[in-house]
């Protein structure tokens, strides 16, 4: 049973086909016909993505994934602001950001490249707009708040925040990596200045993603070289991956109504089935409109996380038992700490090809597991 789509989703058929079709592409910067063919594939992909996300094509910058897109936005925008104003820009990020934002922000602050404020969240993991606005200073160059949280699935009020920031002339970057599979995001309508997306969260292969960087935004490039992607991101176009991410995105957008209805029903069933068990609580927003329909985040009282990982593998369930640090140990997640959530965390996340069977099997397996392990709660004290 694969219930870890939030970590990496299954590849969409159209994405697989696009990838294989363009695997032998020539260099998209080459002048010859095959090069031009490859370039056409890249630009077609750019147009598709731009259209789906409410941007113009040249605002799309292809990257290796979400982490690179976040790095590009934070470093690129903050450094550009510093160069322009000759002062140290102020950066605000939320406490629940993915490490690809959080660690970049801390790194920039430690180098003295920015002054940093971190805005907290409520117990539901949602960032409060007023709390962000209260931290603004005349030097604030960028605010980075994720569209939806990767662990709890909490959806932040990005449109509201972006609008408030736009009227104050402050750029908003949003890490939308978790949101793309199930939410419609429109950077133009929502006045988002910069956005990061990762292909493998919505059916593309791993290793490709994109940043949206609005045209009025000055960005210092991180990768210098051949000047591809309007000089912001040099490097030979990854034609097959780019074709693949556009195909996955297009299929995601077209299939979204079905997927949302389907996995909302599945996660409702999953949450109801599991929360009926002793010592299982659901975390995150209680209002379904404020959480991703793909995520069910639980706290388990009866199972230590180390044992949980073993048991899940034993049951053939792939799910996330918590944030894994680089050694592979599950550690207390900064998101759960910020939201004040206790207990052994378990994130179950569904995707476009999740099935009723997977959900029912998972509920049955957990029912048996928790009943047989009721006495292990003090194992690790």
């Amino acid at each position: 049973m694969y219930l870890d789509h939030a970590a990496s989703s299954t590849v969409r058929p159209t994405a697989r086909a696009a990838f294989l079709t363009h695997l032998d592409a020539a260099n998209g910067s080459a002048a010859h016909q095959r090069g031009q063919n490859a370039r056409a594939v890249v630009e077609q992909a750019r147009e598709q993505i731009a259209q789906h996300i409410g941007a113009s094509p040249h605002e799309i910058v292809f990257t290796s994934g979400g982490t690179e897109a976040d790095n590009l936005a934070l470093k690129g925008i903050c450094w550009a602001a510093r160069d322009k104003t000759r002062t140290t820009p102020h950066l605000i990020v939320s406490a629940t950001e993915h490490a690809a934002v959080r660690d970049v922000a801390v790194w920039l602050a430690e180098r003295g490249d920015v002054t940093l404020d971190v805005v907290g969240c409520g117990p539901d993991g949602i960032v409060d707009v007023e709390a962000v606005l209260a931290l603004l200073t005349p030097q604030t160059a960028l605010v980075s708040v994720m569209y939806a949280n990767n662990e709890l699935g909490s959806i932040n009020p990005i449109a509201e925040l972006a609008k408030a920031l736009a009227t104050r002339g402050v750029a908003l970057h949003t890490d939308a990596v978790q949101a793309m599979a199930t939410l419609k995001v429109d950077v133009n309508r929502e006045q988002i200045s910069a956005l990061a997306a990762s292909g493998h969260k919505f059916g593309a292969p791993q290793g490709v993603g994109f940043a949206v960087l609005r045209r009025d935004l000055a960005v210092v490039p991180l990768l210098h070289g051949g000047g591809q992607d309007r000089g912001v991101r040099s490097g030979t176009f990854a034609t097959a991956l780019i074709a693949s991410v556009a195909a996955a995105f297009t299929e995601t957008v077209n299939d979204r109504p079905r997927v949302v209805a389907h996995i909302t029903a599945l996660t409702d069933r999953l949450a109801a089935g599991l929360c009926a068990l002793d010592g299982v609580r659901r975390n995150g927003p209680t209002d379904a409109a404020k959480r991703l329909c793909s995520h069910v985040h639980l706290s388990l009282d009866a199972l230590p996380s180390e044992l949980l990982a073993l048991r899940l593998d034993g049951l053939g369930i792939a799910a996330s038992g918590g944030a894994a640090c680089s050694s592979g140990a599950t550690t207390a997640s900064h998101v759960l700490v910020a939201a004040g959530i206790t207990g052994t965390p378990l994130r179950l996340s569904l995707g476009w090809d999740s099935t009723v069977d997977e959900v029912e099997h998972t509920i049955a397996a957990f029912t048996q597991l928790l009943n047989s392990n009721a006495a292990t709660s003090r194992l690790w004290v």
Partner: protein, 370 residues
């Protein structure tokens, strides 16, 4: 075939142990324990990983095609091993953190967790041998005795003395029957890149070996006097925890004879030094001994009082105050807090032992009660 959990540190010993278990046909699962924070170079927010070791362990498991998990026991390790380690020094006692760790984290406690998780046995890379009816143990089960390792230089039975018979029945120590060079060869034959990895340090959470420096960051400065065993004040110290019984170096004393630390008294904040003779100890006491076997213990046996010391001939009497061990010849450098571990006369079978809670040094020079 048994379901075996191997504690895989990322070093050569546990890697070879895992390979031997797989070769024996066991259903093996590996767990890497995160115990101490020693990664000072890690970027902010990532202080959690001795990454190389974890990677090595993961690589070993992948090569053996066995499941691999990382268990973060840093909090447990902090509470059960590191803090008591410093606290013991503060009370003038010299602890053995490896013994504590084996009891509270790495061996005895982990074994209980392994059993709860459904494993038949816990295996480790400790150098010690288990025998049943005189033969090496390759499958878990009762009636197991604990013995010195084949490689006397590497023997770790001393730090496993707390293993109870019931625990030994669920323990496998695959490398105990091999010498260190043989173990390296086993690892090399299995293709492990850790085959030539250097041996680890004695105290894993003090990788630079500077115990005094480690303690200095955690314990307060408390100046006191250093006196000679005749009562003469010889100098000052800035914390009794800097000293351990038997210590000769770093005393900074101007004395015409060689001086050794003979007593560390945290109550009076006094360090006593004296000639080597003053270290002579006729007996030690263990308040709460633990035994690896229910079999009777020889009256005349061998006792080891330091992790890397030789065993001394002694007689043992059990009374209401625990165990009194009387040495046939005086023993030098007995430190409270260290473990006294009992071996049979052949210096092979480990009976058990316990933390030294009292020692006779006072009787020799009669100072503390004077």
């Amino acid at each position: 075939m048994s379901k075996v959990l191997i504690a895989l540190s990322g070093g050569v010993d546990s890697s070879a142990a895992a390979a031997l278990l797989v070769a024996d046909g066991h259903d093996v699962t590996a767990v890497h324990l995160k115990l101490a924070d020693t990664d000072t170079d890690a970027p902010p927010g990532h202080g959690c990983c001795t990454l190389d070791d974890a990677q090595d362990a993961r690589r070993t498991a992948a090569m053996l095609d066995i499941p691999f998990y990382v268990w973060d026991l840093r909090d447990t390790f902090q509470t059960a091993v590191e803090r008591p380690f410093a606290a013991s020094y503060a009370t003038g006692v010299t602890p053995n953190p490896c013994v504590t760790c084996n009891e509270k984290v790495k061996y005895a406690a982990l074994l209980e967790r392994a059993k709860t998780a459904g494993f038949d046995a816990l295996a480790t890379g400790h150098y010690a041998q288990l025998r049943r009816d005189g033969k090496p143990v390759v499958t878990p089960g009762p009636n197991v005795t604990l013995h010195r390792a084949k490689d006397a230089q590497k023997d770790q039975s001393y730090v496993l003395y707390m293993a109870q018979p019931e625990q030994l029945a669920h323990t496998l120590l695959p490398v105990g029957g091999y010498t260190k060079p043989q173990v390296r060869q086993i690892a090399a034959d299995a293709g492990f890149r850790v085959a030539q990895k250097p041996d680890s340090y004695d105290i894993c959470f003090i990788p630079d070996g500077d115990t005094a420096g480690y303690l200095a960051k955690r314990l307060p400065v408390a100046a006191g006097t250093i006196i000679d065993n005749d009562g003469t004040v010889l100098g000052e110290h800035d914390g009794v925890w800097r000293y351990t019984v038997g210590q000769r170096r770093g005393l900074g004393l101007d004395h015409h004879e060689r001086r050794f630390v003979t007593d560390v008294n945290a109550t009076t904040n006094t360090v006593t030094v004296g000639p080597r003779d003053a270290l002579a100890c006729a007996w030690v006491r263990i308040k709460t001994p633990r035994f690896t076997t229910s079999a009777p213990i020889q009256e005349h046996l061998l006792v080891q009082i330091r992790a890397h010391g030789r065993a001394h001939q002694a007689t043992v009497v059990r009374d209401t105050n625990g165990l009194k061990i009387t040495f046939l010849e005086p023993v030098y450098g007995v430190a409270l807090g260290q473990a006294a571990v009992l071996y049979d006369r052949d210096n092979d079978l480990c009976y058990g032992g316990g933390m030294i809670t009292d020692a006779d040094r006072d009787a020799v020079f009669g100072l503390r009660n004077a």
